[in-house]
Symmetry: C2
Subunit: 408 residues, 2 copies
């Protein structure tokens, strides 16, 4: 199971130079010889395209890093496709690479899956008796070093966890993109990794909805029994509660997915109540609001101007606290049946960070076939996408301004 690779490095931005250091680390389950790339502001000597060099970049070009945490099968990949779509261009696996790569690359964004930092492959986990949720099955040292390297403008050779074989495949080269998204089980678990994040999101699917979704997928589509589904959920729960769930306290935005309250005792999971919990006071992040920022509002848009079918749509907005932090919560219960409902709702939300009137609707329509396009998950994922674009642009602008000031 030992993986040993000497990584090749490619030059990055024309304004950047690189230094490569080689180190050998021992992790749980296997040894991996790896090259970690450091960024140093102090050294400006350029040795481009070399095996050993020093990286310098203008700080305005530093990669913005976004973390997205969620359990498996909770819609992270849909979220990622919505997010990358906001930045334009299709997101595709690295060209000519491992067909089982988990990475998605588009013009501005690179999304890497943190499963690639599993230190134990499937067999290894079985032998040690740990789940993939367990930190002991994950290499946080490497995760930190590589995320930090990319943030600092240095390409890395990232391992690949092959979900098909359950093995660790030879690594793939990840060049520093404008925006790096790290998505997976533990983007906020390790403090060093967490400190690299410019923005963090937690997708919080309630147990009832998770169960309804799993039944839909594993029972209806894959023929599993109800008992085996229940058992698999129960088996994951202790580690999930211990290692995954606590990360939400660190998130700048949490998307909570709950059963609807519009239909009494509904547990089909088809109509959802989705909450966007937005942390206040986060730099470059201005929470979306409904009508009056900071007040408490409920809104049933279906009325004289907009007619909706059963069970209708209900929005709620207001200030709250979440793990001791001040937050603003926007909630949507129900689903969109028609395009005009979506436009109507969009036109009444403020601070959307859209670039033109109707951009949210356009984005959702573009991917109408994605799961959740007719409910709050699609709406809030799209909105978070716009907020991240805005955050990215603000960060770039403020860095450029700081550079200007430093030069003057």
């Amino acid at each position: 199971m030992a993986v040993s690779t000497v990584y090749t490095i490619q030059p990055l931005n024309s304004s950047c130079s690189s230094i490569i250091s080689t180190q050998t680390k021992s992790h749980l389950g296997f040894n991996q010889k790896q090259q970690v790339l450091f960024f140093s502001k102090r050294i400006t000597t350029t040795t481009n395209s070399s095996r050993r060099g020093i990286i310098t970049c203008s700080s305005a070009e530093k990669t913005v890093v976004i973390g997205l945490a969620a359990d498996s099968g909770c819609g992270k990949s849909t979220f990622m496709r919505r997010l990358t779509s906001v930045f334009g261009g299709a997101a595709e696996p690295p060209k000519g690479g491992n067909p089982d790569s988990n990475t998605l690359i588009s013009d501005k964004t690179t999304v890497i899956c943190l499963d690639d930092y599993h230190s134990l492959d499937r067999t290894g986990r079985k032998e040690k008796g740990v789940t993939a949720l367990d930190p002991r099955a994950n290499n946080f040292d490497l995760m930190y070093e590589q995320v930090k390297a990319i943030k600092d403008g240095v390409a890395v050779d990232k391992p690949i966890y092959n979900h098909v074989t359950g093995l660790l495949d030879p690594p793939e080269l990840i060049k520093p993109p404008k925006i790096l998204v790290i998505e997976g089980l533990h983007p906020m678990y390790d403090q060093r990794v967490r400190d690299q994040l410019d923005f963090s999101i937690y997708l919080d699917i309630s147990n009832e909805v998770k169960f309804a979704w799993k039944i839909q997928r594993d029972m209806a589509e894959r023929g599993h029994s109800l008992e085996s589904i229940k058992a698999s959920i129960e088996a994951r729960k202790p580690d999930f509660d211990a290692y995954i769930d606590p990360q939400k306290q660190y998130a700048d935005a949490v998307i909570e997915v709950l059963p609807t309250q519009l239909i009494p005792d509904d547990n089909e999971g088809k109509v959802l109540r989705v909450r966007l919990i937005q942390k206040e006071g986060v730099k470059h992040f201005n929470p979306v609001y409904l009508f009056d920022e900071g007040s408490t509002i409920s809104w049933i848009p279906c009325g004289r101007k907009l007619t909706c079918s059963y069970p209708g749509i209900k929005f709620t907005y207001g200030p709250d606290t979440y793990f001791g932090n001040e937050v603003s919560v926007l909630e949507m219960d129900g689903r969109f049946d028609r395009l005009d409902e979506l436009i109507y709702v969009e036109s009444h939300l403020s601070n959307l960070s859209s670039k033109f009137y109707g951009e949210v609707t356009q984005q959702i329509l573009k991917h109408a076939d994605f799961p959740g396009s007719n409910n709050g998950t699609g709406l809030f994922q799209t909105i978070v996408g716009l907020k991240i674009r805005d955050l990215y642009e603000q960060i770039v602008a403020s860095r450029a301004e700081a550079l200007q000031t430093a030069k003057a």
Copy 2:
């Protein structure tokens, strides 16, 4: 008890001429010789200042008539002072007239009290065993004829019911104002009178609040016993339910005053929940709304931007039906503690018909000592005042336009 008077008539607008007819009518309890003034569009001969003449006015100057119905002691006079204040100028009793006159005259408005159309004085009612609420104690023929006459631009000699003596005093001259408000128990009871109204309002005080107010006034201030207050309310109730309450179905706007829902089981009547029920589809009347016209909204403005003391303020807005009519209801529960709360609320209401930003707040501050200035009664009375001013201006404008078209 018989009242017999020959009324003198004064010329009205310079563009109007008058005709006077004299008739003797027999009403329940007493005979009253009266002059009823008719308006005729067909006859244009002018005999100004004469005892018998024909009135013609440009229709753009016809009096706009507003009806306000409510039980006694329910704040009609406060409402009237707020309303006349919106039109500017102080409202005063007719100069040099009966000091016990119930009439209030300002630059543009004349408010007459429909108690003046009591056909039975206090002794007469006692003898017949009828209350003032009973239509048999009121002269609807005269009420109709005089309201119609004023509306048509003709001055009338209106009787005066003296609330101090309980007698019918000699009449007073009422010249056609720009806006005539008829306020009292029965402005919408008689269909002929109702048909004269350009806009109608019903002040609907719930039994719980009425009781709390009566206790406050009659027990605390006048030393009545709780039993006697209960008995007096009970005694009025059958006639009130039979003759007064049903009028609200005809009202264009109803102000409902209810106990608060912010304090559990509150019955002090100090914190109120006030509802402004606005009929849809009334010409020249565009209902006030909160945030999104025609949808259903609840709003607690007290939050991050606005802090309020207990029990806070809560607004609700939405479409509803009221006696089979489509209405929009705006509700305020709670009270204003500070000026900025009032301004904040005003700035979030739409369709207020104010002439400048903050006019509602300014009006309420101007009469901060009036009852209800810190709750929904003062707010909604002021808003209704602005809506009536707007309605008046729209009516005048549309008449002027119609005249122009007719001339062209």
